[in-house]
Amino acid sequence: MEPILIINNLIVTIAGRRVIDDVSLELYPGRVTAIVGESGSGKTLTALSVLDLLPETAKVVSGEVIFDGKDVFKLREDEKRKIRGFDIGMVFQEPFTALNPVMKVGDQVGEVLLAHNIIKKKELKPKVRELFEQVKLSPNVADSYPHELSGGMRQRAVIAMAMACDPRVLILDEPTTALDVSIQEEVLALVSSIQKKNNLSILFITHDFSIVNMLANEVCVMKEGIIVEKGSREDVLRSPQNEYTKKLIDCIPRIGDKRDRLPG
């Protein structure tokens, strides 16, 4: 099977320091690839480079991102914009800040549809309501402002936004980190059901191996900008080769486990 998204030997520097160092990974259609690592390991930057939306201070030194056979870095600005949101959707970590506080959430979801001209203005409302139902929100939520919603509801609205154009790839940047545990579970179940229904490819960024265990097919472990281990979920979880990976896996709490929670 041909990968839908390939990152080849990507090197990104900020102020001369390599924050992404020779990263290569592949995402296959209908599969979930998880990038796991601690804060500052470069996992979010890797995701942003896929959309060529790195912060201004970050420079791509070498490498390429190939989506659907095209090198993203070589596309014109308007071609990149067509990919963003239309082919590749993205969900951010913080549902509290990812929505514009002075715009109704329904309008924000609708805006994505309008930005890519895939719908006429008068068909917008029913389509937005349908999207809200898809993420298991009441369609009436569309008329609310973000401050009226709970964290879980906001994150669902953000997922609805990312799913609006029925993208082929979804990038989820720690979508559950800011939510409490019970809501985490629901959001992950939602992501998993959408993934199966739409045969989506997901690039899932997390620091939590228990989430990897639930969702991922392939796993990349990143540390200080370098991929230290890469492989299928079973291989990495059962027989981790790298010391760092072992420590991360040891962090998963288990019932009846008497060890200290933070080894090493």
């Binding site: 990919i83 800040t97 514009n100 715009m103």
Partner: protein, 297 residues
């Protein structure tokens, strides 16, 4: 426009405001200003019905000239026997329209340049900021006077020139707001979804940057009215015989030792109007600025 915005804020903050005592005081201040400005606006719109005489009708007979205020001539008559009250009623039109239109022009220029400057940064930003610094270097009032002498004094020129010379402050204000807002997650989020730059600027960032703009614009309306009055006073603004508060003052200054009504009433009108705008502006600032609220509350 200002009325609508004002009422929206009053409605919003009197419902949502938890710090009710503090908010009530603010609302009173804004309300006072709004009432005065509403009256002024009604007078301006309904000028033909409010005015008791034709503002241009002269009566040069000695007993008609320079009459003191009376039931017939509320604010007296001027040196050409014209009714001062009626002239002032028509002058309200000039002052308010100059105030609003000049500020409207400076808002458009300032918000657009400030927004582009703050959003794109880099070379665009430094280019626009140098332009702003150049604008700051000119003594604005003399610049306005000079341009008006070239273009010829009339009300349209006055509005346009005041508008195009007073946007620099707004531009800096909007730029500063944009610089901080463009790094916010919801802006990144919109960009990630492929929303166009202009839409991100005007639909996502600008509405979140408007609070200080409302305040600054309201205060500027008062400032623009003052500049117009000063220009008219110097003979560079609205030309006689058209009445404006400034040129009624000019006519009155020669008779100030015995015809006090010629200077007192237009002077008071300017004072009260500018004061009202400043009160609305100050009130809005205190209602909208969360830092100020914290410190006082």
């Amino acid at each position: 426009m200002v009325l609508g915005i004002g009422y929206r804020f009053i409605a919003r903050y009197s419902i949502l405001g938890t710090n009710s005592e503090h908010n009530t005081i603010m609302n009173k201040r804004i309300l006072f200003g709004l009432i005065i400005i509403t009256i002024m606006a009604l007078v301006a719109i309904l000028a033909p019905f409010v005015a008791t005489y034709d503002p241009l009708e002269m009566d040069l007979s000695p007993e008609a000239r320079l009459q003191a205020p009376s039931a017939q001539h509320l604010f007296g008559t001027d040196n050409l026997g014209r009714d001062v009250f009626s002239r002032m009623v028509y002058g309200t039109r000039i002052s308010l329209s100059v105030g609003f239109i000049a500020v409207f022009i400076s808002l458009i220029v300032g918000v657009f340049l400030g927004g582009v400057s703050g959003y794109y940064g880099g070379k665009v930003d430094s280019g626009i900021m140098r332009l702003v610094e150049v604008m700051y270097c000119f003594p604005t009032f003399f610049l306005i006077m000079m341009v008006i002498t070239f273009l010829g004094p009339n009300i349209v020129n006055v509005m346009v020139v005041i508008g195009f010379t007073s946007w620099a402050g707004l531009c800096r204000l909007v730029r500063a707001e944009f610089l901080s807002l463009r790094e916010r997650d919801f802006v990144h989020s919109a960009k990630v979804q492929g929303v166009s730059d202009m839409r991100v600027i005007f639909r996502h960032i600008l509405p979140n940057a408007m609070a200080p703009v409302y305040v600054s614009a309201t205060l500027s309306v008062g400032g623009a009215i003052l500049v117009e009055s000063a220009l008219s006073f110097l003979g560079l603004g609205v030309q006689i015989p058209t009445a404006s508060w400034g040129n009624i003052l000019t006519a009155g200054k020669n008779y100030i030792d015995f015809a006090w009504w010629l200077t007192l009433f237009p002077g008071m009108a300017i004072l009260i109007t500018v004061l009202s705008f400043n009160m609305i502006g100050e009130g809005l600032r205190e209602v909208l600025d969360p830092k100020l609220k914290e410190r006082k509350g």
